[in-house]
Symmetry: C2
Subunit: 356 residues, 2 copies
């Protein structure tokens, strides 16, 4: 952590005022360095009150995604401890892949395992199969997690389900906290609980994050591998957080957290929540190299469960009732007497009426 | 095909002399162009006889791997119709990957599917998991086939078995032809048949090509993929063809075709044979996305079949009798009453005594 991160973290964690003196001593930096970093933070939008003889107090945190902002609230042990932030990139997935090339393993150890790449804006954001992903400045989270799982490449596709779980839980948590804050602020109003109750946040199999029936997130997982060995996995995540409007053609299926909650969400907090869950789920996944330890929690998040779905193959369409997933991430669909095991990528699943 | 390739092909395919006139007319090039290209070919080592009023005759073909040499004998329909030859490269796999980046798909169509990258020498030849692969000038075949199979990435590991089959068959065919040539040249000597009979050319599961119990080829298959979509597959093949000596530490397990047959093998002919089989096997593989149409032929090539093998897992070692593979490329090993299904990458298989 650089001094700026340390100062920010300290300010964040302290309820009252932090004296300049204690910052100098604890962080072992000069008075000038403290003053310089505080000023930089102010310029970035942090509202920092300074009172003679009392010190500094953080009044307001801006909605930024800088390295320092993220590092100062990250709750993880291994993931996203190294953060590469750039204001504008082509795509964070490409940044991550370039990073791998530029940082070859030393002593068989990859220095980059767990690194998070994040940007305010992507100019060439990528969706699956070379499609575009619109990533305007400031309104979303455009990030890529770079991993080196020591697993069989054939099992890597399950990582996308792990990612979906982490994002869905991260959003649930952040939205719930938001409503709790609202509740405590507006005790006379009674809408806080209802916001949370009304909202349906879950996963449409295999990896779409859906809020109130519309998609808020896309995941593009790319892998470089040998036949039985993974060189790297890049999990690209694009989350529509504070987007206020969508082009007409995607309005039907896309939405943002802002549009669904009516609230502005602080993106760094959401990133921290997602990474927290990611680490927990990822650890469980690595333990068995499948989803056996995660099935139940995934199925709780699965909004298709118990619903009628259309299974769309190349020429045929079958209607059935979706169950949950199995430990390999396949969706079990009951078609009459028969239970079909649907592998992602082979077929597509849609609700009978509409997207979900 | 450029004029040089066309001239070479014509010379190759004609038993007697080819007149300069007919070359000009058939290939629609000027007399000067014919003359220039013939001279270039001579400089590259082709022995071309030219006789006034009769024309040109190809007496001897050098052991080169140039684009023109390979194109003039390639027997395939789709694979290796585009050849990228460079005398010296870092590694042909990296050349192929760079090529993908520099040639994005146009209209959803990859121009590079099937391209073969080949070099006389690799300065940074790569083995599996970042190991080195020694690739000195002239003595071997260092090549990479770039493919874009429209299959599930989870099934791509079977491609390595497909590659092994093509290489093993290509070597068998080339060595057999060599002995036939010998036979017809030396009818009074009786060693020709015996060369072929004595040689055991086959596959050690999953993908080592073994001649007389020693390895002659390494395969490094790399893939760039999304979770259910392959961006590219690069199949790197390194074949010890005319190597005359190996460092002491690998002599026990490595050999070359030259050392085993006593003959110098023309590498371009071997490449053409391998690509011919590759195309046939690859087509069968794509049809079912597994090895069902190839099991029998693979098992014929499998030298482990019926032999005692040690199955080496992380901590344990089991002895069993190897059967053949199943349609997913797993090795079936009989351990007592039980038949175990060994997935490549999870465990390693060794003979009871020695490498095979």
């Amino acid at each position: 952590m650089n001094p700026k991160t340390k100062i920010l973290k300290k300010l964040r964690e302290t309820k009252g005022f932090v004296s300049g003196q204690s910052l100098c001593e604890e962080l072992e930096v000069s008075r000038t360095a403290v003053w310089k970093n505080i000023n930089q933070l102010k310029e970035e939008g942090y509202e920092i009150e300074s009172v003679t003889n009392r010190g500094y107090h953080l009044n307001r945190i801006p909605d930024v995604l800088t390295k320092e902002e993220l590092e100062s609230i990250m709750l993880t042990d291994k993931l996203a401890r190294n953060i590469v932030y750039r204001e504008v990139v082509g795509s964070t997935n490409n940044e991550a892949k370039k990073y791998v090339e530029q940082h070859p393993a030393a002593n068989g150890q990859e220095s980059w395992d767990g690194t998070l790449f994040i940007a305010e804006q992507q100019n060439e954001g990528k969706g699956r199969r070379g499609r575009n992903w619109i990533s305007p400045k400031g309104s979303g989270i455009w990030m890529s997690l770079l991993l080196k799982p020591d697993i069989n490449p054939a099992n890597a596709s399950m990582l996308t389900l792990v990612s979906a779980m982490a994002i869905a839980r991260g959003i649930q948590k952040t939205v719930a906290e938001k409503s709790l804050q609202e509740e405590s602020q507006d005790t006379d109003r009674d809408h806080a609980h209802s916001v949370e109750d009304e909202m349906q946040i879950g996963i449409k199999w295999p990896n779409d994050i859906v809020v109130n029936g519309r998609k808020v997130c896309g995941i593009l997982t790319e892998m470089g591998s040998e036949m039985d060995y993974i060189n790297y996995v890049v999990v690209g995540m694009g989350i529509n957080v504070n987007t206020e409007d969508f082009p007409q053609e995607v309005k039907e299926i896309a939405t943002s957290l802002r549009l669904e909650t009516g609230e502005h969400i602080k993106r760094s907090e959401l990133v921290a929540e997602i990474m927290f869950y990611y680490e927990a789920y990822y650890r469980k996944f690595l333990k068995t190299e499948d989803l056996s330890l995660l099935i139940d929690e995934y199925n709780e998040l699965l909004i298709n469960a118990g619903r009628e779905v259309r299974v769309i193959e190349q020429d045929t369409e079958t209607v059935g009732i979706a169950g949950g997933i199995d430990k390999e991430g396949c969706l079990l669909v009951k078609c009459g007497e028969q239970t079909r095991k649907i592998r992602s990528g082979e077929v597509s699943v849609r609700g009978l009426y509409g997207y979900v």
